[in-house]
Amino acid sequence: MMNSGTTLPVRAPGADLGDLLDVDAVSALILAGERLLLAGDEALLARLPRGTWIGGTIPYFVAADGGTSSRERLFCTRLPAEVEVDSIRLYDAASLAHVCADAPAEGFSVMILPAFSEVHSLFARNAPNYEDMYLKPLIGWIAGVHLDDLGRATPKVFDGSRGEGCEERAVVLHARLPEPRYARIEIVNLFRPGSGPGLRFTDKGFSAAKVLVDGVEQDFAAWLRRQGSDTRLPLVADYCGAMVNVSIKSVEAGRVDFYAPVFPDIEYRIAAPIDDYVARFLAALPADVPPVTFSCNCILNYLYSNLEGRHTGPMRGPATFGEIAYQLLNQTLVYLTIEG
């Protein structure tokens, strides 16, 4: 399968599948028929040959050598041999709601959405109500840009099978698994609700002017300032035991913006502070987790917890503008394992 002249990392049985590679090594893998999930700089992704791969733009990674930023290398996740790629599709605003219905009955789907696009916004607000949502495993991430390029560059996703890059559509790789194998998606979120009051919002959305604090309506921005809240801490909601974050983007007079939508039927609390993210993260990893097929973490965890140069164990992958474990998440590590 492999080009004998190219130096490629060895994949030991049970070893994690992802790491940083230069564009020539990734090209060789594609030409050798490997099925890849890629993350990296737009110029690198655009140079790759056609093949069975999807990708998205982001220059931040948590790799084998720890957290790093690179415009010269791509984070490359190879799908295990037992995975059969069913299809690679691009979804626009009108077709996005069918993403789970289109997935094979037995398998999983990997989705990459360009940040700030309409499909990003639609998915964030409506994914929980998509047909077959939660029935079929859906994992992925939000493509972004180098923080120095915010406002100048546009996040993109790539469909390697067509050699096409998109700013306004989502790319999805639908995969099948042989019986009795099945895919499982889990998260590691260190944030827990703090001891403050319960917060509710009257409307679904990425920003809020008002909040109900223990049932009493308040100006949310003013309330946050009065509390002296650290806005690096997300709002956290308890979804039957799963802690789901909504990160705060900015606080302006009369308005608070979020990186994911708040929902009116959910109660949130400001998260309790975390002293040492890496130490707590390593302690929080499940001891018996099978080899990780894919994972990604949040750019905000990368930044706020100073992950550059620091190791987070077996969980490697891009540090993204949002994580998808069925629905859009913030400040959370998501990972996929194949079990059974």
Binding site: A94, F116, S117, L122, L135, P137, G241, Q327
Partner: protein
């Protein structure tokens, strides 16, 4: 006006990014024409993106009656947008939306007379014949929703139907789980997220039938994902047994 549109969007089961652009109502004729299109893309934090492709007229179809009014849906959207999965659109050259075609097909299959159907829906007999002819030549696909109405809910994939020890779909344990009367320790992310959604909707359901359907979503999830739900199933069975005792 926007509130009226939102109510009508709910009745027609239109979801984002689709929206009602215009409504023309003929009170005396008991007829309502609805123009549906894609909503303008929302910008994120003031970032401007490329405009979408130009919208063109895609078709006009007779839809189901609502509140005694005959509804016609006209769709305006870019030519590249596929409409074939929306119940409120129809096949090209056909007079009815997919939802309406499915309803009429079902009535025809059940032996309701052509005259009766025409009186019931206020449709032209010629259009029913067009539908029948299309069905005979299979140029119209019957709505999957219609099929779902008659088929048992068995879930999807090889696990469907093979669920030893799983309470039946009509077991009250599913309703109690959906309603929050049963609390179980859940170790699987997808079930945590699904149960949160189901519980928030279950409380707002207007009647027992709607709540029963909502509870069946949980049964379907267990059938589909039984292999990773051993601990959760054990707790459910124990709860069902306690209820029986």
């Amino acid at each position: 006006m926007r509130t009226d549109h939102q109510l009508l969007e709910q009745l027609l089961e239109l979801h984002e990014p689709w929206e009602i652009r215009a409504v023309r109502t003929d009170i005396h004729g008991r007829r309502c024409e609805v123009e549906v299109g894609l909503a303008a893309p929302r910008t994120w934090f003031g970032l401007v993106r490329k405009p979408s492709a130009p919208a063109v007229e895609r078709g006009e179809w007779r839809h189901l009656n609502l509140a005694g009014f005959r509804y016609v849906v006209r769709v305006v959207a870019p030519a590249s947008v596929s409409l074939e999965r929306y119940e409120w659109t129809g096949e090209p050259e056909q007079p009815f939306t997919r939802a309406m075609s499915a309803r009429l097909t079902r009535l025809l299959a059940e032996g309701v007379s052509l005259e009766g159907i025409c009186r019931l829906f206020g449709v032209d007999p010629g259009e029913i014949w067009r539908l029948k002819r299309s069905l005979e030549t299979r140029s119209v696909r019957v709505s999957p929703l219609d099929a779902a109405g008659a088929a048992p809910d068995t879930g999807a994939g090889p696990a469907a139907g093979a669920a030893p020890g799983l309470p039946e779909a009509d077991d009250p344990v599913w309703g109690r789980l959906a309603g929050g009367d049963i609390s179980i320790d859940i170790g699987v992310l997808s079930l945590k997220l699904l149960l949160t959604r189901v519980r928030s909707q279950y409380e707002a359901m207007p009647d027992d039938e709607s709540r029963r359907l909502k509870a069946r979503e949980l049964h379907r999830f267990f059938v589909k994902n039984l292999r990773m739900l051993g601990a959760e199933l054990q707790q459910l069975r124990a709860s069902a047994l306690r209820e029986e005792a």
